[in-house]
């Protein structure tokens, strides 16, 4: 924790202390190195040990055993799969819903600003509030509002969280992330010059053709931003699961962050939790690099 190799190369103040541009960058960089890179290397280090906080002094080096254990146990593979399903499911649903809402909001009608504020609200809600309210007040099989709704429509009340745990979590996370997709896609739509649409109309394009050949290509950048940032964020979903299903039933809704939380803070199994942490980071980075490469083809990062 004490060794920060980079600091050795920090520029020396020349001729007394003088603020130079590069000196201004270093505090931020050092801070991020200290709080993200250094701990991550320690996570990698711990992942090679059998290390349980119950027995902090017995810490044998076991090489890749933690990884092998993680990647061969079928329950653990289920956790990996859950993470993927949750992310992919949420992504698809939020793109469809958010895209649809963006198209609906991209018209002028009375009260549009108000409707947009209302629609973006769920994104601003603390994930734990979402989970606690959905679990208790909406999805409760006896007293919940949705169960009452199902019953009054002639169905049998459902215990959503135990009958369809993953689908319910996806529903909750989708409710939270749809406004994100909507806002970004709406902004993308609004930067579409009017004359392009007019030109398409003059050429006799049908609404569908107009969408396919004018709107969609213009939307690419916004779509890619949604895919990249949402993937990274939804892979890290924790609060919703913690407060609604606690990963259950069984491991039905355990994703990687929740799994690591259980290993580290319920079982004190630092070695396994660390290995799972490394796997999560690697997975996230592979996805991010893959998605960034896709994006960098037509987006230059930065504020121009």
């Amino acid at each position: 924790m004490t060794a920060v190799p980079i600091s050795a190369t920090a520029p020396k103040p020349k001729g007394g202390f003088k603020i130079t541009p590069s000196v201004m960058i270093w505090p931020a960089m050092l801070y991020l190195i200290l709080t993200t890179q250094v701990p991550f290397f320690m996570t990698i280090y711990y992942s090679f040990f059998r290390y349980n906080l119950v027995e902090p002094d017995r810490r044998p080096f076991i090489g890749f055993s933690n990884y092998v254990g993680l990647l061969t146990d079928s329950d653990n593979l289920k956790v990996l799969l859950n993470s993927m399903i949750l992310t992919a499911g949420t992504l698809i649903l939020t793109l469809i819903l958010g895209g649809g809402l963006a198209l609906l909001l991209n018209r002028s009608f009375p009260g549009r600003g108000f409707v947009r504020s209302v629609l973006m609200s769920s994104f601003l809600i603390m994930p734990l509030v979402t989970a606690v309210v959905f679990k208790n007040m909406l999805l409760n099989p006896v007293f919940g509002f949705f169960s009452w709704l199902v019953k009054s429509l002639g169905g049998t009340p459902i215990d959503f969280l135990s009958a369809y745990p993953m689908a319910t979590i996806i529903g909750m996370v989708t409710w939270e992330w749809t406004p994100f997709a909507m806002l970004i896609l709406l902004t993308g739509l609004q930067s579409l010059p009017d004359d392009q649409i007019e030109a398409a109309r003059l050429d006799g394009a049908s609404p569908l053709q107009e969408f396919r050949y004018v709107v969609l290509p213009h939307w690419t950048q916004a779509l890619e931003v949604v895919v990249l940032l949402e993937t990274i964020n939804v892979l890290q979903v924790f609060g919703e699961i913690y407060a609604s299903t606690s990963g259950g039933p069984g491991v039905a809704t355990t994703n990687l962050p929740y799994f690591i939380y259980q290993k580290a803070f319920a079982e004190y199994n630092i070695g396994v939790a660390s290995a799972a942490g490394v796997i999560t980071v690697v997975l996230t980075n592979i996805l991010a690099i893959f998605l960034l490469r896709m994006i960098s083809k037509n987006v230059s990062p930065g504020g121009h």
Partner: protein, 287 residues
């Protein structure tokens, strides 16, 4: 560039003069309906906050009732402590992220070198580092340093979370300041510090306030570090709300009151900062 999106409607379908078309009215009605459905969980929660406990979990649901404020009064003592902790963690981390991030954003925007883009990308890439990839060593370290369940513990982690956002957002705002202004100042003999404090900071004040709102929202809503690094003394609102996770219908009204108090500040902030929200959420890639 920062035009409020609602002011720039793309007029789809040149309509006949004399009122909107039938399909237009239907689409508007559909939009309103969807907005209502999306908002319903929050509405239901807000209503429950003003019900008695019996009304809150009555079957069939109670739609008309005489509102009471008792739940808020009951929730307030515990809420007050958590609110203080949330405010300290959110504001403290935002201030720290600005102290570290503003100079960096300035240097990267006004004195770009060929490494600047790499530095910016690297900073963004720390966002790809899931919290679970660093939580184990940080937990052990914080335990050894006595930072568990302290304000500083949370402030340190939330600063990490918000620093890339601050650098990217402020970089994006500072590149929009016309270079001629700096050149004029240089002719007058301004040094780097003067350019930073005298030009860049005052001219990017709107950007600073927008970024600060976003950073506060993110820190306020954070769950993972809060649950793992605090327990009682420094526990923010997210930890307080999690105490309701196993409520079995006894405290729904009080839970709703606490939840309303927790989400209301962020909702208001978010609605106010709408203009800049998209820019911040997309790290400036979509404006």
């Amino acid at each position: 560039m920062t035009t409020l999106p609602s002011q720039r409607a793309v007029t789809v379908a040149p309509k006949k003069k004399g009122g909107p078309s039938t399909s237009g009215i239907l689409l508007t009605a559909l939009t309103y309906l969807l907005a209502f459905l999306f908002f319903f969980p929050l509405l239901w929660m807000a209503l429950a906050a003003f019900k008695t406990e019996a009304q809150a979990f009555a079957v069939p649901p109670v739609f008309t009732f005489t509102p009471i404020t008792e739940n808020f009064q009951n929730a307030l003592p515990a809420y007050g402590v958590a609110l203080r902790n949330s405010l300290i963690a959110a504001i403290g981390s935002t201030v720290l992220a600005f102290i570290l991030g503003l100079p960096a954003a300035f240097a990267l925007a006004v004195y770009p070198t060929k490494r600047s883009k790499g530095v910016l990308t690297w900073m963004l890439s720390t966002k790809f580092m899931p919290a679970v990839g660093v939580i184990v060593p940080l937990y052990l370290l914080f335990r050894d340093l006595g930072l568990l369940d302290t304000w500083w513990g949370l402030i340190i982690m939330y600063t990490t979370m918000n620093l890339p956002l601050v650098v990217w957002m402020m970089h994006s705002y500072m590149t929009e300041i016309p270079p001629a202004i700096y050149e004029a100042a240089k002719v007058d003999g301004a040094n780097v510090a003067k350019e930073f404090f005298g030009i860049a900071l005052p001219l990017s004040l709107p950007g600073i306030s927008a970024t600060a709102l976003l950073a506060i929202i993110f820190a306020w809503n954070e769950v993972f570090f809060a649950l793992n690094l605090t327990s009682t003394d420094a526990a923010p609102l997210s930890v307080f709300i999690s105490t309701f996770k196993t409520s079995r219908g006894l405290f729904w009204a009080q839970m709703s009151a606490a939840a309303v108090l927790t989400v209301l500040p962020v909702l208001i902030f978010g609605w106010v900062a709408q203009r800049q929200l998209v820019r911040g959420l997309s790290f400036g890639a979509v404006k």
